[in-house]
Amino acid sequence: MKKKIKKYFKVWWLLSKNSFMSMLSNRLGSFFFLLGKLIRFFIYLFFIIILLKGTNSLAGYNLNQTVFFYLTFNLIDIISQFLFREVYRFRPQIVEGTFDLVLSKPINALFRSLLGGADVLDFFTIPPLIIALIYVSVSLNPNFFSIILYILLVFNGLVISAAFHIFVLSLGIVTLEVDHTVLIYRDLSNLGKFPIDIYKEPLKGFLTFIIPVGTMMTFPAKALMNLVDFKAVIISFFIGGMFLFLAIKFWNFALTKYSSASS
Protein backbone atom coordinates (compact mmCIF):
# COMPACT_ATOMS: atom_id res chain seq x y z
CA MET A 1 0.00 0.00 0.00
CA LYS A 2 2.81 2.38 1.00
CA LYS A 3 4.59 1.54 -2.25
CA LYS A 4 1.43 2.22 -4.23
CA ILE A 5 0.91 5.63 -2.58
CA LYS A 6 4.55 6.48 -3.29
CA LYS A 7 4.12 5.50 -6.94
CA TYR A 8 0.96 7.59 -7.36
CA PHE A 9 2.55 10.57 -5.65
CA LYS A 10 5.51 10.31 -8.02
CA VAL A 11 3.17 10.21 -11.02
CA TRP A 12 1.19 13.17 -9.67
CA TRP A 13 4.40 15.13 -9.14
CA LEU A 14 5.56 14.40 -12.69
CA LEU A 15 2.21 15.36 -14.21
CA SER A 16 2.07 18.55 -12.14
CA LYS A 17 5.59 19.43 -13.24
CA ASN A 18 4.54 18.97 -16.87
CA SER A 19 1.52 21.15 -16.25
CA PHE A 20 3.78 23.84 -14.77
CA MET A 21 6.12 23.67 -17.79
CA SER A 22 3.16 24.01 -20.13
CA MET A 23 2.00 27.06 -18.13
CA LEU A 24 5.47 28.61 -18.46
CA SER A 25 5.30 28.25 -22.23
CA ASN A 26 2.33 30.65 -22.19
CA ARG A 27 3.48 33.18 -19.61
CA LEU A 28 1.41 36.09 -20.90
CA GLY A 29 -1.82 34.08 -20.88
CA SER A 30 -1.06 32.72 -17.40
CA PHE A 31 -0.32 36.22 -16.12
CA PHE A 32 -3.66 37.57 -17.38
CA PHE A 33 -5.47 34.54 -15.99
CA LEU A 34 -3.95 34.95 -12.53
CA LEU A 35 -4.50 38.71 -12.61
CA GLY A 36 -8.16 38.17 -13.53
CA LYS A 37 -8.65 35.78 -10.63
CA LEU A 38 -7.05 38.17 -8.16
CA ILE A 39 -9.14 41.10 -9.42
CA ARG A 40 -12.32 39.03 -9.05
CA PHE A 41 -11.35 37.97 -5.52
CA PHE A 42 -10.59 41.52 -4.34
CA ILE A 43 -13.62 43.13 -5.99
CA TYR A 44 -15.93 40.63 -4.26
CA LEU A 45 -14.14 41.18 -0.96
CA PHE A 46 -14.47 44.93 -1.41
CA PHE A 47 -18.17 44.48 -2.22
CA ILE A 48 -18.74 42.45 0.98
CA ILE A 49 -17.00 45.11 3.07
CA ILE A 50 -19.04 47.94 1.52
CA LEU A 51 -22.26 45.93 1.78
CA LEU A 52 -21.75 45.02 5.44
CA LYS A 53 -20.65 48.55 6.33
CA GLY A 54 -24.01 49.71 4.97
CA THR A 55 -26.19 46.97 6.44
CA ASN A 56 -24.19 45.92 9.57
CA SER A 57 -25.22 42.28 9.15
CA LEU A 58 -26.07 39.69 6.53
CA ALA A 59 -28.47 36.92 7.59
CA GLY A 60 -27.38 37.64 11.16
CA TYR A 61 -23.62 37.55 10.51
CA ASN A 62 -21.33 40.53 11.06
CA LEU A 63 -18.60 41.77 8.72
CA ASN A 64 -15.79 39.55 10.04
CA GLN A 65 -17.99 36.46 9.98
CA THR A 66 -19.19 37.17 6.41
CA VAL A 67 -15.61 37.76 5.25
CA PHE A 68 -14.61 34.49 6.92
CA PHE A 69 -17.37 32.64 5.02
CA TYR A 70 -16.09 34.21 1.81
CA LEU A 71 -12.45 33.30 2.52
CA THR A 72 -13.40 29.71 3.42
CA PHE A 73 -15.36 29.44 0.18
CA ASN A 74 -12.27 30.64 -1.70
CA LEU A 75 -9.98 28.22 0.13
CA ILE A 76 -12.07 25.18 -0.84
CA ASP A 77 -12.69 26.53 -4.33
CA ILE A 78 -9.03 27.28 -5.04
CA ILE A 79 -7.69 24.01 -3.61
CA SER A 80 -10.29 22.18 -5.74
CA GLN A 81 -9.18 24.03 -8.86
CA PHE A 82 -5.54 23.42 -7.99
CA LEU A 83 -6.09 19.68 -7.60
CA PHE A 84 -8.81 18.95 -10.16
CA ARG A 85 -7.83 21.21 -13.07
CA GLU A 86 -7.46 18.18 -15.35
CA VAL A 87 -11.25 17.81 -15.36
CA TYR A 88 -11.43 21.02 -17.43
CA ARG A 89 -9.26 19.32 -20.07
CA PHE A 90 -11.19 16.05 -20.14
CA ARG A 91 -13.67 16.63 -22.97
CA PRO A 92 -11.19 16.52 -25.91
CA GLN A 93 -9.95 13.13 -24.67
CA ILE A 94 -13.47 11.71 -24.91
CA VAL A 95 -14.42 13.42 -28.17
CA GLU A 96 -11.16 12.53 -29.93
CA GLY A 97 -10.94 9.07 -28.36
CA THR A 98 -7.53 9.68 -26.76
CA PHE A 99 -9.00 8.51 -23.47
CA ASP A 100 -8.02 5.04 -24.78
CA LEU A 101 -4.42 5.96 -24.01
CA VAL A 102 -5.35 6.72 -20.40
CA LEU A 103 -7.25 3.45 -20.02
CA SER A 104 -4.41 1.39 -21.42
CA LYS A 105 -1.81 2.73 -18.98
CA PRO A 106 -1.00 0.87 -15.74
CA ILE A 107 -2.46 3.63 -13.63
CA ASN A 108 -5.95 4.28 -12.33
CA ALA A 109 -7.92 6.14 -15.04
CA LEU A 110 -9.89 8.14 -12.46
CA PHE A 111 -6.70 9.27 -10.77
CA ARG A 112 -5.27 10.37 -14.13
CA SER A 113 -8.46 12.19 -15.22
CA LEU A 114 -9.14 13.85 -11.87
CA LEU A 115 -5.68 14.69 -10.52
CA GLY A 116 -3.44 14.47 -13.57
CA GLY A 117 -2.37 18.09 -13.93
CA ALA A 118 -2.42 20.34 -10.88
CA ASP A 119 -2.82 24.04 -11.62
CA VAL A 120 0.23 25.73 -10.16
CA LEU A 121 -1.29 29.18 -10.76
CA ASP A 122 -3.94 28.37 -8.16
CA PHE A 123 -1.34 27.00 -5.79
CA PHE A 124 0.37 30.40 -5.53
CA THR A 125 -2.80 31.96 -4.16
CA ILE A 126 -3.30 29.38 -1.37
CA PRO A 127 -0.66 30.56 1.20
CA PRO A 128 -1.80 34.23 1.25
CA LEU A 129 -5.39 33.02 1.55
CA ILE A 130 -4.53 30.88 4.58
CA ILE A 131 -2.79 33.88 6.18
CA ALA A 132 -5.91 35.99 5.57
CA LEU A 133 -8.08 33.23 7.09
CA ILE A 134 -5.91 33.08 10.22
CA TYR A 135 -5.96 36.89 10.49
CA VAL A 136 -9.77 37.11 10.27
CA SER A 137 -10.39 34.04 12.43
CA VAL A 138 -8.60 35.64 15.41
CA SER A 139 -11.52 38.06 15.82
CA LEU A 140 -13.94 35.09 15.92
CA ASN A 141 -12.35 33.67 19.10
CA PRO A 142 -12.11 30.01 18.06
CA ASN A 143 -11.09 27.33 20.54
CA PHE A 144 -8.83 24.34 19.85
CA PHE A 145 -11.77 22.01 19.23
CA SER A 146 -13.46 24.37 16.75
CA ILE A 147 -10.19 24.81 14.81
CA ILE A 148 -9.79 21.03 14.49
CA LEU A 149 -13.43 20.72 13.41
CA TYR A 150 -12.91 23.51 10.87
CA ILE A 151 -9.92 21.71 9.32
CA LEU A 152 -11.82 18.41 9.20
CA LEU A 153 -14.87 20.04 7.62
CA VAL A 154 -12.72 21.83 5.03
CA PHE A 155 -11.30 18.42 4.18
CA ASN A 156 -14.89 17.09 3.99
CA GLY A 157 -15.69 20.01 1.64
CA LEU A 158 -12.81 18.92 -0.59
CA VAL A 159 -14.16 15.35 -0.59
CA ILE A 160 -17.56 16.66 -1.75
CA SER A 161 -15.81 18.79 -4.36
CA ALA A 162 -13.89 15.72 -5.58
CA ALA A 163 -17.20 13.85 -5.80
CA PHE A 164 -18.72 16.67 -7.86
CA HIS A 165 -15.75 16.59 -10.24
CA ILE A 166 -16.03 12.79 -10.58
CA PHE A 167 -19.73 13.23 -11.45
CA VAL A 168 -18.73 15.78 -14.11
CA LEU A 169 -16.14 13.39 -15.59
CA SER A 170 -18.62 10.51 -15.61
CA LEU A 171 -21.32 12.64 -17.20
CA GLY A 172 -18.70 13.65 -19.77
CA ILE A 173 -18.20 10.02 -20.78
CA VAL A 174 -21.93 9.38 -21.01
CA THR A 175 -23.02 12.64 -22.72
CA LEU A 176 -19.73 14.10 -24.12
CA GLU A 177 -20.62 17.31 -22.26
CA VAL A 178 -18.03 18.51 -19.75
CA ASP A 179 -17.31 22.19 -20.30
CA HIS A 180 -20.71 23.55 -19.31
CA THR A 181 -21.32 20.91 -16.62
CA VAL A 182 -18.15 21.88 -14.81
CA LEU A 183 -19.11 25.54 -15.09
CA ILE A 184 -22.55 24.75 -13.71
CA TYR A 185 -20.78 23.08 -10.78
CA ARG A 186 -18.77 26.32 -10.38
CA ASP A 187 -21.98 28.37 -10.41
CA LEU A 188 -23.59 26.03 -7.90
CA SER A 189 -20.59 26.20 -5.60
CA ASN A 190 -20.64 30.00 -6.01
CA LEU A 191 -23.93 29.92 -4.11
CA GLY A 192 -21.70 29.14 -1.12
CA LYS A 193 -19.83 32.44 -1.45
CA PHE A 194 -22.18 33.75 1.23
CA PRO A 195 -23.56 31.77 4.20
CA ILE A 196 -26.39 29.54 2.98
CA ASP A 197 -28.60 31.09 5.67
CA ILE A 198 -29.39 33.83 3.13
CA TYR A 199 -31.43 31.30 1.12
CA LYS A 200 -35.00 30.43 1.98
CA GLU A 201 -36.48 26.95 2.28
CA PRO A 202 -36.75 24.72 0.29
CA LEU A 203 -33.64 26.04 -1.51
CA LYS A 204 -31.66 26.12 1.74
CA GLY A 205 -32.42 22.44 2.45
CA PHE A 206 -31.65 21.59 -1.17
CA LEU A 207 -28.25 23.29 -0.89
CA THR A 208 -27.50 21.51 2.38
CA PHE A 209 -28.50 17.94 1.60
CA ILE A 210 -29.14 17.38 -2.12
CA ILE A 211 -26.47 19.55 -3.74
CA PRO A 212 -24.46 19.98 -0.54
CA VAL A 213 -22.92 23.38 -1.26
CA GLY A 214 -23.78 24.44 2.29
CA THR A 215 -22.13 21.37 3.81
CA MET A 216 -19.13 22.01 1.62
CA MET A 217 -18.65 25.77 2.05
CA THR A 218 -20.72 27.09 4.96
CA PHE A 219 -20.42 24.35 7.61
CA PRO A 220 -16.62 24.61 8.10
CA ALA A 221 -16.85 28.34 8.80
CA LYS A 222 -19.85 27.81 11.08
CA ALA A 223 -17.92 25.15 13.00
CA LEU A 224 -15.10 27.59 13.67
CA MET A 225 -17.67 30.06 15.02
CA ASN A 226 -19.13 27.31 17.24
CA LEU A 227 -22.44 27.56 15.39
CA VAL A 228 -22.98 23.91 14.41
CA ASP A 229 -24.12 21.10 16.66
CA PHE A 230 -22.55 17.64 16.83
CA LYS A 231 -25.44 16.07 14.88
CA ALA A 232 -24.88 18.46 11.92
CA VAL A 233 -21.16 17.60 11.90
CA ILE A 234 -21.89 13.86 11.75
CA ILE A 235 -24.42 14.43 8.94
CA SER A 236 -21.81 16.51 7.06
CA PHE A 237 -19.26 13.69 7.10
CA PHE A 238 -21.99 11.20 6.14
CA ILE A 239 -22.98 13.41 3.17
CA GLY A 240 -19.31 13.72 2.14
CA GLY A 241 -18.73 9.96 2.27
CA MET A 242 -22.03 9.16 0.57
CA PHE A 243 -21.38 11.65 -2.23
CA LEU A 244 -17.94 10.21 -2.92
CA PHE A 245 -19.30 6.66 -2.88
CA LEU A 246 -22.08 7.53 -5.36
CA ALA A 247 -19.66 9.45 -7.58
CA ILE A 248 -17.26 6.48 -7.81
CA LYS A 249 -20.21 4.14 -8.54
CA PHE A 250 -21.31 6.49 -11.34
CA TRP A 251 -17.74 6.63 -12.70
CA ASN A 252 -17.58 2.84 -12.86
CA PHE A 253 -20.94 2.80 -14.63
CA ALA A 254 -19.83 5.54 -17.06
CA LEU A 255 -16.69 3.56 -17.99
CA THR A 256 -18.91 0.73 -19.24
CA LYS A 257 -20.56 3.25 -21.61
CA TYR A 258 -17.29 4.52 -23.10
CA SER A 259 -17.25 3.54 -26.76
CA SER A 260 -13.98 5.06 -27.94
CA ALA A 261 -16.04 6.24 -30.92
CA SER A 262 -13.64 8.69 -32.46
CA SER A 263 -10.46 6.70 -32.33
Binding site: S30, G36, I39, R40, G54, I184, I198
Partner: protein
Protein backbone atom coordinates in the same frame (compact mmCIF):
# COMPACT_ATOMS: atom_id res chain seq x y z
CA UNK B 1 -29.18 42.71 -47.10
CA UNK B 2 -30.23 39.23 -48.26
CA UNK B 3 -26.87 37.70 -47.46
CA UNK B 4 -26.97 39.08 -43.91
CA UNK B 5 -30.41 37.53 -43.47
CA UNK B 6 -28.78 34.24 -44.42
CA UNK B 7 -26.06 34.84 -41.80
CA UNK B 8 -28.85 35.44 -39.27
CA UNK B 9 -30.53 32.16 -40.26
CA UNK B 10 -27.25 30.19 -40.20
CA UNK B 11 -26.37 31.55 -36.75
CA UNK B 12 -29.78 30.47 -35.46
CA UNK B 13 -29.18 27.00 -36.85
CA UNK B 14 -25.71 26.86 -35.30
CA UNK B 15 -27.07 27.85 -31.91
CA UNK B 16 -29.74 25.14 -32.17
CA UNK B 17 -27.19 22.58 -33.37
CA UNK B 18 -25.53 22.80 -29.95
CA UNK B 19 -28.74 22.85 -27.93
CA UNK B 20 -27.26 21.35 -24.79
CA UNK B 21 -24.52 24.00 -24.74
CA UNK B 22 -27.07 26.73 -25.15
CA UNK B 23 -29.38 25.37 -22.45
CA UNK B 24 -26.45 24.96 -20.04
CA UNK B 25 -25.40 28.55 -20.72
CA UNK B 26 -28.92 29.76 -19.89
CA UNK B 27 -29.02 27.61 -16.72
CA UNK B 28 -25.82 29.34 -15.62
CA UNK B 29 -27.37 32.76 -16.11
CA UNK B 30 -30.40 31.81 -14.03
CA UNK B 31 -28.17 30.47 -11.26
CA UNK B 32 -26.30 33.77 -11.06
CA UNK B 33 -29.63 35.55 -10.62
CA UNK B 34 -30.53 33.15 -7.80
CA UNK B 35 -27.41 34.16 -5.83
CA UNK B 36 -28.05 37.88 -6.30
CA UNK B 37 -31.78 37.60 -5.63
CA UNK B 38 -31.37 35.83 -2.30
CA UNK B 39 -28.44 38.02 -1.29
CA UNK B 40 -30.50 41.19 -1.72
CA UNK B 41 -33.63 39.55 -0.29
CA UNK B 42 -31.60 38.88 2.83
CA UNK B 43 -30.28 42.45 2.93
CA UNK B 44 -33.81 43.82 2.51
CA UNK B 45 -35.38 41.38 4.97
CA UNK B 46 -37.12 44.43 6.42
CA UNK B 47 -39.02 45.74 3.35
CA UNK B 48 -39.22 49.29 4.70
CA UNK B 49 -35.42 49.69 4.78
CA UNK B 50 -33.40 51.49 2.12
CA UNK B 51 -29.77 50.79 1.24
CA UNK B 52 -27.54 52.68 -1.17
CA UNK B 53 -30.57 54.61 -2.47
CA UNK B 54 -32.51 51.45 -3.32
CA UNK B 55 -35.65 50.09 -1.77
CA UNK B 56 -36.35 46.37 -1.94
CA UNK B 57 -38.53 46.58 -5.07
CA UNK B 58 -35.97 48.56 -7.07
CA UNK B 59 -33.07 46.32 -6.02
CA UNK B 60 -34.93 43.14 -6.97
CA UNK B 61 -35.91 44.79 -10.28
CA UNK B 62 -32.20 45.53 -10.77
CA UNK B 63 -31.39 41.83 -10.28
CA UNK B 64 -34.07 40.71 -12.75
CA UNK B 65 -32.97 43.47 -15.11
CA UNK B 66 -29.44 42.04 -15.13
CA UNK B 67 -30.80 38.76 -16.53
CA UNK B 68 -32.62 40.48 -19.42
CA UNK B 69 -30.04 43.17 -20.21
CA UNK B 70 -27.14 40.73 -20.14
CA UNK B 71 -29.04 38.58 -22.64
CA UNK B 72 -29.34 41.59 -24.96
CA UNK B 73 -25.91 43.15 -24.46
CA UNK B 74 -23.53 40.32 -23.54
CA UNK B 75 -24.80 37.63 -25.94
CA UNK B 76 -22.19 37.58 -28.62
CA UNK B 77 -20.64 35.41 -31.30
CA UNK B 78 -17.83 37.93 -31.82
CA UNK B 79 -16.04 36.36 -28.84
CA UNK B 80 -15.02 33.63 -31.32
CA UNK B 81 -12.89 36.17 -33.19
CA UNK B 82 -9.83 35.52 -31.02
CA UNK B 83 -9.95 31.80 -31.88
CA UNK B 84 -10.40 32.27 -35.62
CA UNK B 85 -7.46 34.69 -35.72
CA UNK B 86 -5.27 32.30 -33.69
CA UNK B 87 -6.05 29.16 -35.69
CA UNK B 88 -5.93 30.97 -39.02
CA UNK B 89 -9.53 30.30 -40.11
CA UNK B 90 -9.94 34.07 -40.43
CA UNK B 91 -8.58 33.64 -43.97
CA UNK B 92 -11.73 31.74 -44.96
CA UNK B 93 -13.91 34.63 -43.81
CA UNK B 94 -11.78 37.15 -45.68
CA UNK B 95 -12.32 35.28 -48.94
CA UNK B 96 -16.08 35.56 -48.67
CA UNK B 97 -17.84 38.44 -50.49
CA UNK B 98 -19.19 39.82 -47.24
CA UNK B 99 -18.31 42.71 -44.93
CA UNK B 100 -16.48 41.13 -42.00
CA UNK B 101 -17.78 43.61 -39.40
CA UNK B 102 -21.38 43.32 -40.60
CA UNK B 103 -21.07 39.53 -40.66
CA UNK B 104 -20.16 39.35 -36.98
CA UNK B 105 -22.62 42.02 -35.95
CA UNK B 106 -25.41 40.06 -37.69
CA UNK B 107 -24.28 36.86 -35.94
CA UNK B 108 -24.38 38.79 -32.66
CA UNK B 109 -27.93 39.99 -33.39
CA UNK B 110 -29.07 36.38 -33.95
CA UNK B 111 -27.49 35.32 -30.67
CA UNK B 112 -29.10 38.26 -28.87
CA UNK B 113 -32.58 37.48 -30.25
CA UNK B 114 -32.31 33.89 -29.11
CA UNK B 115 -30.92 34.74 -25.68
CA UNK B 116 -33.46 37.51 -25.14
CA UNK B 117 -36.34 35.14 -25.96
CA UNK B 118 -35.04 32.62 -23.45
CA UNK B 119 -34.32 35.24 -20.81
CA UNK B 120 -37.90 36.50 -21.04
CA UNK B 121 -39.22 32.96 -20.47
CA UNK B 122 -36.78 32.50 -17.56
CA UNK B 123 -37.77 35.84 -16.04
CA UNK B 124 -41.44 34.86 -16.24
CA UNK B 125 -40.73 31.50 -14.61
CA UNK B 126 -38.61 33.09 -11.87
CA UNK B 127 -41.35 35.67 -11.35
CA UNK B 128 -43.87 32.86 -10.83
CA UNK B 129 -41.55 30.88 -8.52
CA UNK B 130 -40.05 33.69 -6.44
CA UNK B 131 -43.03 36.08 -6.55
CA UNK B 132 -40.90 39.21 -6.26
CA UNK B 133 -42.26 42.75 -6.17
CA UNK B 134 -40.95 44.43 -9.30
CA UNK B 135 -40.79 48.05 -10.39
CA UNK B 136 -42.44 48.70 -13.77
CA UNK B 137 -41.43 51.92 -15.49
CA UNK B 138 -44.44 53.70 -16.99
CA UNK B 139 -42.92 57.07 -17.94
CA UNK B 140 -42.61 57.01 -21.78
CA UNK B 141 -39.61 59.39 -21.75
CA UNK B 142 -37.61 57.12 -19.45
CA UNK B 143 -38.68 54.09 -21.48
CA UNK B 144 -37.50 55.76 -24.69
CA UNK B 145 -34.19 56.77 -23.08
CA UNK B 146 -33.82 53.23 -21.73
CA UNK B 147 -34.17 51.72 -25.22
CA UNK B 148 -31.70 54.22 -26.67
CA UNK B 149 -29.19 53.45 -23.90
CA UNK B 150 -29.66 49.75 -24.61
CA UNK B 151 -28.86 50.22 -28.33
CA UNK B 152 -25.72 52.18 -27.40
CA UNK B 153 -24.78 49.38 -24.96
CA UNK B 154 -25.10 46.74 -27.70
CA UNK B 155 -22.86 48.73 -30.07
CA UNK B 156 -20.37 49.50 -27.30
CA UNK B 157 -20.08 45.84 -26.34
CA UNK B 158 -19.56 44.82 -29.96
CA UNK B 159 -16.74 47.37 -30.32
CA UNK B 160 -15.10 46.36 -27.01
CA UNK B 161 -15.26 42.64 -27.79
CA UNK B 162 -14.01 43.13 -31.34
CA UNK B 163 -11.16 45.34 -30.22
CA UNK B 164 -9.99 43.09 -27.37
CA UNK B 165 -10.20 39.90 -29.43
CA UNK B 166 -7.89 41.42 -32.03
CA UNK B 167 -5.11 41.06 -29.45
CA UNK B 168 -4.71 37.59 -31.03
CA UNK B 169 -3.08 39.17 -34.08
CA UNK B 170 -0.06 39.95 -31.89
CA UNK B 171 -0.22 37.13 -29.32
CA UNK B 172 -2.13 34.19 -30.86
CA UNK B 173 -1.20 31.79 -28.05
CA UNK B 174 -2.60 34.13 -25.38
CA UNK B 175 -5.45 35.51 -27.46
CA UNK B 176 -8.07 34.14 -25.06
CA UNK B 177 -6.49 35.73 -21.99
CA UNK B 178 -7.14 39.42 -22.63
CA UNK B 179 -10.84 38.87 -23.48
CA UNK B 180 -11.08 36.77 -20.30
CA UNK B 181 -9.57 39.57 -18.23
CA UNK B 182 -11.52 42.44 -19.76
CA UNK B 183 -14.87 40.87 -20.55
CA UNK B 184 -15.34 38.12 -17.98
CA UNK B 185 -13.71 39.88 -15.02
CA UNK B 186 -13.46 43.65 -15.40
CA UNK B 187 -16.43 44.02 -17.74
CA UNK B 188 -18.64 41.89 -15.51
CA UNK B 189 -17.95 43.94 -12.39
CA UNK B 190 -17.55 47.41 -13.89
CA UNK B 191 -20.68 47.01 -16.00
CA UNK B 192 -22.75 46.55 -12.83
CA UNK B 193 -23.69 42.96 -13.71
CA UNK B 194 -22.74 41.66 -10.28
CA UNK B 195 -23.81 44.56 -8.06
CA UNK B 196 -24.98 48.13 -8.67
CA UNK B 197 -22.08 50.54 -8.91
CA UNK B 198 -23.78 53.20 -6.78
CA UNK B 199 -22.94 51.27 -3.63
CA UNK B 200 -19.45 52.76 -4.08
CA UNK B 201 -18.40 56.26 -3.03
CA UNK B 202 -19.20 59.26 -5.24
CA UNK B 203 -15.56 59.67 -6.32
CA UNK B 204 -15.34 55.97 -7.32
CA UNK B 205 -18.60 56.32 -9.25
CA UNK B 206 -17.21 59.34 -11.13
CA UNK B 207 -14.24 57.22 -12.23
CA UNK B 208 -16.56 54.37 -13.29
CA UNK B 209 -18.79 56.75 -15.27
CA UNK B 210 -15.79 58.00 -17.25
CA UNK B 211 -15.15 54.40 -18.48
CA UNK B 212 -17.23 52.62 -21.15
CA UNK B 213 -18.19 49.62 -18.97
CA UNK B 214 -21.01 51.07 -16.81
CA UNK B 215 -22.91 51.99 -19.99
CA UNK B 216 -23.32 48.29 -20.78
CA UNK B 217 -25.66 47.27 -17.93
CA UNK B 218 -25.62 49.69 -15.01
CA UNK B 219 -26.53 52.85 -16.90
CA UNK B 220 -29.50 51.36 -18.85
CA UNK B 221 -30.84 49.94 -15.59
CA UNK B 222 -30.44 53.29 -13.82
CA UNK B 223 -32.43 54.87 -16.63
CA UNK B 224 -35.14 52.19 -16.42
CA UNK B 225 -35.41 52.63 -12.64
CA UNK B 226 -35.51 56.44 -13.11
CA UNK B 227 -32.69 56.81 -10.60
CA UNK B 228 -31.11 59.57 -12.66
CA UNK B 229 -32.61 62.90 -13.70
CA UNK B 230 -33.15 63.43 -17.43
CA UNK B 231 -30.24 65.92 -17.85
CA UNK B 232 -27.88 63.40 -16.18
CA UNK B 233 -29.19 60.66 -18.45
CA UNK B 234 -28.57 62.84 -21.52
CA UNK B 235 -25.07 63.65 -20.23
CA UNK B 236 -24.39 59.92 -19.72
CA UNK B 237 -25.57 59.19 -23.24
CA UNK B 238 -23.15 61.75 -24.65
CA UNK B 239 -20.27 60.14 -22.75
CA UNK B 240 -21.24 56.67 -23.95
CA UNK B 241 -21.62 57.94 -27.53
CA UNK B 242 -18.17 59.54 -27.21
CA UNK B 243 -16.77 56.17 -26.13
CA UNK B 244 -18.59 54.47 -28.99
CA UNK B 245 -16.97 56.79 -31.55
CA UNK B 246 -13.49 56.35 -30.00
CA UNK B 247 -13.83 52.55 -29.82
CA UNK B 248 -15.33 52.30 -33.31
CA UNK B 249 -12.43 54.21 -34.89
CA UNK B 250 -9.89 52.29 -32.76
CA UNK B 251 -11.49 49.06 -33.95
CA UNK B 252 -10.99 50.03 -37.61
CA UNK B 253 -7.39 51.18 -37.03
CA UNK B 254 -6.41 48.08 -35.03
CA UNK B 255 -8.08 45.87 -37.65
CA UNK B 256 -5.98 47.42 -40.44
CA UNK B 257 -2.81 47.01 -38.39
CA UNK B 258 -3.80 43.45 -37.47
CA UNK B 259 -4.40 42.58 -41.11
CA UNK B 260 -0.83 43.56 -41.91
CA UNK B 261 0.33 41.24 -39.14
CA UNK B 262 -1.97 38.31 -39.96
CA UNK B 263 -0.30 35.40 -41.73
CA UNK B 264 -2.93 32.65 -41.50
CA UNK B 265 -0.19 30.32 -40.37
CA UNK B 266 -2.53 28.17 -38.29
CA UNK B 267 -4.19 26.60 -41.33
Amino acid sequence: MKKYLQVLKITFQQEFAYRLNFIMWRVRNVMQVFLLFFLWESVFSDPSRQFFGYDRTKMITYVFGILVIKAVVFSSRTIELSRIISDGTLAMYLLKPINFFKYWFTADVASKILNLSFSLVETTLLFIILKPELYFQSNPIYLLLFFISLIIAVLLFFAIVFLINMFSFWAPEAGWALPFLFIVIIGDFLSGSVFPLDIFSKSAQNIFYSLPFPYLVFFPLQVYLAKLSIPIVINGMFISLGWLIVLWFSMKIVWEKGMKKFSSEGI
